[in-house]
């Protein structure tokens, strides 16, 4: 493995590590908010089923919760492009 790394140009290693880092950032940015949105929507649906008269308020909070969670994903996606840029 070390011999293999020694045979490579420094530029190739850097490019490879950049690609790995980009994948980690991109994956983290997709998984984290995905779980977050699942929790937000799951609880909102439970609340609407239990208390239908509060559906308007619950949906407002749910939409804002989703939008705030998505900010993390957007930031991660853009960051992954900046890393590779």
């Amino acid at each position: 493995m070390l011999q293999l790394l020694a045979q490579q140009d420094p530029g190739e290693l850097e490019a490879g590590l950049t690609a790995v880092g980009r994948g980690i950032v991109y994956g983290g940015a997709a998984i984290g908010p995905g779980i977050g949105i699942g929790i937000v929507v799951g609880n909102a649906i439970t609340a609407m089923a239990r208390q239908p008269e509060a559906a308007g308020m619950v949906r407002t909070t749910m939409f804002l919760g989703i939008a705030f969670t998505e900010a993390l994903a957007l930031f991660g996606f853009v960051l992954s492009f900046i890393i590779s840029g």
Partner: protein
Amino acid sequence: MTVADRHAPVPEAPEVERELAFDMLKRGVWFAPAVLLLATIAWGPDGASSAAVAIALVVVNLVLAALGLSWAAKVSLTAIMAVSLGGFAVRMGLVCAVLFAVRDASWIHLTALGVTVLVTHLGLLFWELRFVSASLAFPGLKPPDKEAVVS
């Protein structure tokens, strides 16, 4: 929650998501020139064009999310769950497609794009949050002005 509950229609409520998104869209029209100006000062003409792409990306993303959820709310609780998570995947795919399309363009400054996406998204949300918390959770319930009550 039983299976029957999940397929039950969502209780009647105004299309709050649509109201929120179009409120943010209206504020975005006021917000955009200031952001474009700041981006031009900080990064030059490339920064301005990148900021314009970022603002469009954020606004379209919010409006698509709102339209999807408004539609799903008329169908069932299961549809809300499906549209929320499926919509997230689709919209993030669209964001990536746009970023792939513009990242090598000569008029794009990636840092300006990233900063503007974050500032616009969070700025519009916090601005809307201020009004939502002042209006008892959704704009339709906003209390009347004191002057209107007195007269």
